[in-house]
């Protein structure tokens, strides 16, 4: 083939440019340690990366939600522990009050102690968290969930729920939202107004705790002259037991949710490792291959440069 003087320059520049751009690309990959630096490097993997990054970010957020839920649930659990203890000590008082040899003064003393315990119970039910939100108010934070009045007329002890039945939820996985609050109506009941005829009567499902406290209080005020005294005390003890199991049922449900959050936090950690390795598989550079490619490209460029400079110095004019 006939070769013109420009051939070697055209070929030389083209080869130098294409080898240079190859080297440049490898250099970029080596300095970012990524195989994909822009979508065109691998369009399909780039689109998958967008999706996986979203899953990873959602997983991180869900883990953080699970942790927040766990701490919120733990606060509620601690308070319900105190509530149980208080109910048990009121029940002890009720058992004491069942003793027929008690004098009116003794009953008065028991009533005073019992009313203090009830105040303690209501204040526990009105507990707020760090952000001054009522823990047992449903989703209502405008007012304390429970009102309590102690007065001389019947009903002497009046406790009522003024929150709602709704709960705050947090998303701890893409398909699961966990309730982080327990409405007071579910844990404690709505009202102390007995279901039966005043002043004291049978307790109704869901409201046993408050109603039995009211029944107990009325019984203590009426004293042993009331022919129903013993029955009422027994109703109160039974109601306190029912109320306690209602609180314990809420605690059990809290406990199972706390377990769920714990296992989800662990799973979230495992998943985040998984996502990181998926991302790494897609975009990370095979370092050994890249370094050896780089060496090869560098050698090729050097050789091209050397041959170009030698070929270009050949000319017949040098001998004329």
């Amino acid at each position: 083939m006939r070769v013109s003087s420009n051939t070697q320059y055209i070929m030389g520049t083209y080869n130098l440019q294409s080898k240079g751009s190859q080297l440049n690309r490898l250099n970029e990959q080596l300095s970012t340690l990524k195989r994909i630096n822009r979508a065109s490097d691998d369009p399909v993997a780039a689109a998958s990366l967008v999706d996986i990054n979203q899953s990873k970010s959602m997983n991180t957020q869900q883990s953080s939600n699970a942790k927040a839920a766990a701490s919120q649930l733990a606060i509620t659990d601690t308070i319900l522990g105190n509530v149980s203890n208080t109910i048990i000590s009121i029940k002890t008082l009720a058992v004491q009050a069942g003793n027929t040899v008690l004098t009116n003064e003794d009953r008065q003393a028991i009533q005073n102690e019992m009313r203090e315990k009830v105040k303690e119970l209501v204040s526990l039910a009105n507990t707020t968290d760090g952000a001054s939100n009522y823990i047992f108010g449903g989703t209502d934070k405008s007012k304390p969930p429970f009102t309590m009045t102690i007065q001389a007329t019947v009903p002497q002890l009046d406790i009522n729920y003024q929150g709602n039945d709704q709960r705050q939820y947090m998303a701890i996985s893409s398909s699961r939202e966990i309730a982080v609050t327990e409405p007071g109506s579910v844990v404690f009941g709505r009202t102390s107004t007995p279901a039966g005829p005043a002043p004291a009567g049978p307790t109704a499902a869901g409201n046993e705790l408050w109603q039995s406290l009211s029944v107990f209080d009325e019984a203590l005020s009426a004293g042993s002259v009331d022919p129903n005294y013993a029955t009422n005390i027994a109703t109160a003890i039974q109601g306190l037991d029912d109320g306690l199991s209602q609180v314990l049922a809420s605690r059990a449900s809290l406990g199972s949710r706390m377990q769920e959050t714990d296992s989800l936090i662990e799973m979230g950690d495992a998943l985040s490792v998984q996502y990181a390795s998926q991302i790494s598989n897609l975009e990370d550079l095979d370092l050994a291959k890249a370094v050896s490619d780089f060496e090869m490209a560098r050698t090729a460029l050097e050789v091209t440069q050397k041959t170009f400079s030698q070929v270009k110095s050949l000319s017949l004019f040098n001998y004329l």
Binding site: R2, V3, S4, N6, T7, I10, M11, Y14, I36, N37, R38, A39, S40, D41, D42, P43, V44, A46, A47, S48, V50, D51, N53, Q54, S57, M58, Q61, S64, N65, A69, N133, T139, D140, K141, N164, D165, Q166, R167, Q168, Y169, M170, A171, S174, S175, R176, E177, A179, P183, V186, G189, R190, T191, A195, A204, A205, G206, N207, S315, F317, L320
Partner: protein, 612 residues
């Protein structure tokens, strides 16, 4: 005797002329588009001198160039397509860098926005957490804006490039017409043509092809006719036509900024519009392709993301109540739905792209006050009452959360009216144990397919309502459901049901795929929405990536082809200095030999004169 002189002189002239041609070749070794030249010579017609025909020296008849028209045409074609791909590759790699970069792309900010929603769900009353949602929304809309600004830079850059190229085309066309005129007047016939002007004209055609692919026809008189866009004349003989870039109508009536090309008819004010699809190569075609398909598609995609995302958020926001318990008064984002209507009514891709571009420009956060975010549900459930009046009220089960799920466009998004009354009836033993009673009409309740523990139903008037419940009872119960109006006693600041529904939009399919078509960038109205915002963005990223990749691969191939053709042309027409150096010696020797002939003739004359 005089024969020796004239033969010697003809040899001397021939050698000198050959030296001229050789030195012309040497001096033009680096001239772009130069074809090496050669002197054509032949032995002169002999003369009969009795004993036979005696030679009369050498005749020179032409200086011709070593030119292969087929090779030149190949070179022009490859130049046009390689320059077209070059323009596309440059613009696309800008978009490619913009859309993928983890720090400049949209992914991170979309994730940041949804993460702020989740954080707010942990503490729905926190003003700081609410403010963070607004700030994240502002960063997100800001990023959409800045991506659009970069896309606008690319778009305007391409339009400017087309405009400048059109001026270049006109200038080349005028020069080619002028050279046509010069060449025809200097043509001496019988192959005696001004070679260097022909070279210049071919070079101009090649430069013209860098801008726009042309078809060149050589007329019988040696003039070039140059056509573009399948038969529109640009140069005919000594006349050149003026090409213009127009904006908007008549070719692009729906986008006053969109460029189109035309050719002015000489002597009139009429302009013929060129179909840009028929321009097959050159940087103008490359810029047009990138502008009409890639830039427009990416802007339409980003615009649709902005429109659908803001519309979905606004629709859910409209169904909730704010921190003061009042139905949401402010949309979360500026309302962009009018641009969707404009785009849907547009009949050209440019019109669609313009509407979406305008939407992107106006994408902004509308809500100012953190308290205005509608975190809480617009619905509330009352206390559970037994259906049997002899039973004690206030029992179980309870509705722990109830909210309305927004309908996506084009469906209406009505809120629950105060009347007729809506109630949820609990019927133990049924699966699920609920039915909805809307003013006496019973609506069945189904379990959600995607969310654990969520039940849902849709009223005939379009409200799609979801709820969760806790507890169970042995007998039938009923629970009233009412819209929140801000009345005292409805307070539910810790309710985050509406916010959680907003957060679910992260994975809810909001986007219908962009049709794989060059005539529209919008899916049909009401087309099935199949992808979340993020996966739709992934598709856009993948589109840009593949397009850039394809164009870069084609560019590499075309550059290699250009290289091949250039080398082929060089091999045939290029100057080789070694060859010319040898020729220098050769013609120098011939010159010296012819000089010697004259010297011998002179000496013979001298000998004759000396015979006295």
């Amino acid at each position: 005797m005089s024969g020796i002189f004239s033969i010697g002189i003809s040899g001397l002239n021939a050698a000198r002329a050959a030296l001229d041609v050789t030195s012309h070749n040497i001096s033009n070794v680096n001239t772009d588009g130069y074809n090496r030249q050669r002197l054509s010579q032949s032995a002169a017609t002999p003369q009969f001198v009795g004993y036979g025909y005696a030679g009369r020296g050498v005749d020179l008849y032409a200086v011709s160039r070593l030119y292969d028209g087929f090779m030149d045409e190949q070179l022009q074609n490859v130049t046009a397509s390689s320059s077209g791909f070059q323009t596309q590759a440059t613009a696309l790699s800008d978009i490619d860098n913009l859309i993928t970069d983890g720090n400049a792309g949209l992914s991170n900010l979309m994730q940041g926005f949804y993460a702020s929603l989740q954080t707010l769900s942990q503490q729905p009353t926190s003003i700081a957490a609410r403010q963070s949602v607004i700030s994240q929304a502002e960063s997100l809309s800001g990023r959409f804006q800045s991506m659009n600004t970069r896309m606008e830079e690319v778009r305007n850059g391409l339009i400017n490039q087309i405009n400048t190229s059109v001026e270049g085309v006109n200038s080349y066309a005028r020069q080619i017409a002028a050279l046509n005129e010069q060449i025809i007047s200097l043509n001496q016939g019988e192959g005696r043509v001004p070679n260097d002007l022909l070279d210049q004209r071919d070079t101009l055609v090649r430069d013209l092809n860098k801008l726009i692919k042309t078809d060149v026809v050589e007329q019988s008189d040696g003039m070039y006719s140059v056509y573009i866009g399948q038969g529109h004349p640009l140069v005919i003989g000594e006349t050149s036509y003026e090409m213009t870039m127009m904006r908007g109508a008549p070719a692009q009536p729906e986008d006053p900024e969109a460029p189109s090309l035309g050719i002015k008819l000489p002597g009139t004010n009429n302009t013929v519009v060129l179909n840009s699809q028929l321009i097959a190569g050159g940087s103008i075609a490359g810029a047009m392709t990138t502008l009409n398909y890639d830039v427009a598609r990416v802007q339409a995609d980003l615009g649709r993301m902005a429109v659908e995302f803001s519309d979905a958020m606004n629709r859910q926001q409209a169904l909730g109540v704010d921190l003061s318990g009042l139905p949401a008064s402010t949309p979360m984002f500026a309302d962009l739905t009018a641009f969707r209507t404009t785009a849907e009514n547009a009949t050209t891709p440019a019109g669609e792209a313009k509407a979406m571009r305008d939407a992107l420009r106006r994408f902004a956060v509308a809500v100012q006050e953190p308290s205005q975010l509608a975190v809480a549900s617009g619905l509330q459930a009352g206390a559970t009452t037994p259906v049997d009046p002899t039973e004690v009220p206030g029992g179980k089960p309870s509705i722990s959360a109830i909210w309305q799920v927004s309908n996506l466009s084009p469906a209406a998004n009505p809120t629950l009216p105060a009347a007729p009354a809506l109630a949820l009836n609990y019927i133990p033993g049924n699966t699920p144990p609920f039915e909805a009673d809307f003013g006496g009409t019973i609506v069945p309740v189904t379990q959600s397919a995607t969310q654990a523990g969520v039940y849902e139903f849709t009223l005939a008037s379009g409200q799609h309502i979801a709820f969760k419940f806790e507890g169970q009872a042995a007998t039938n119960q009923t629970i009233p459901v009412t819209p929140r109006t801000g009345a005292a006693g409805e307070s539910a600041q810790l309710d985050n049901a509406n916010l959680l529904e907003m957060a679910r939009l992260q994975t809810r399919p909001l986007m219908a795929a962009t049709p794989n078509s060059t005539s529209t960038f919008l899916p049909a109205v009401g087309a099935a929405r199949t992808g979340s915002l993020q996966s739709f963005y992934g598709q856009t990223v993948s589109y840009v990536g593949s397009r850039t990749n394809v164009v870069q691969v084609s560019l590499t191939a075309q550059e290699a082809a250009l290289q091949e053709v250039k080398l082929k042309r060089e091999s045939f027409s290029g100057v080789n200095l070694d060859e010319e150096a040898a020729n220098l010696i050769r013609y120098q020797q011939a010159y010296q030999a012819s000089s010697k002939v004259i010297q011998v003739a002179q000496e013979i004359f001298q000998s004759l004169l000396d015979l006295r």
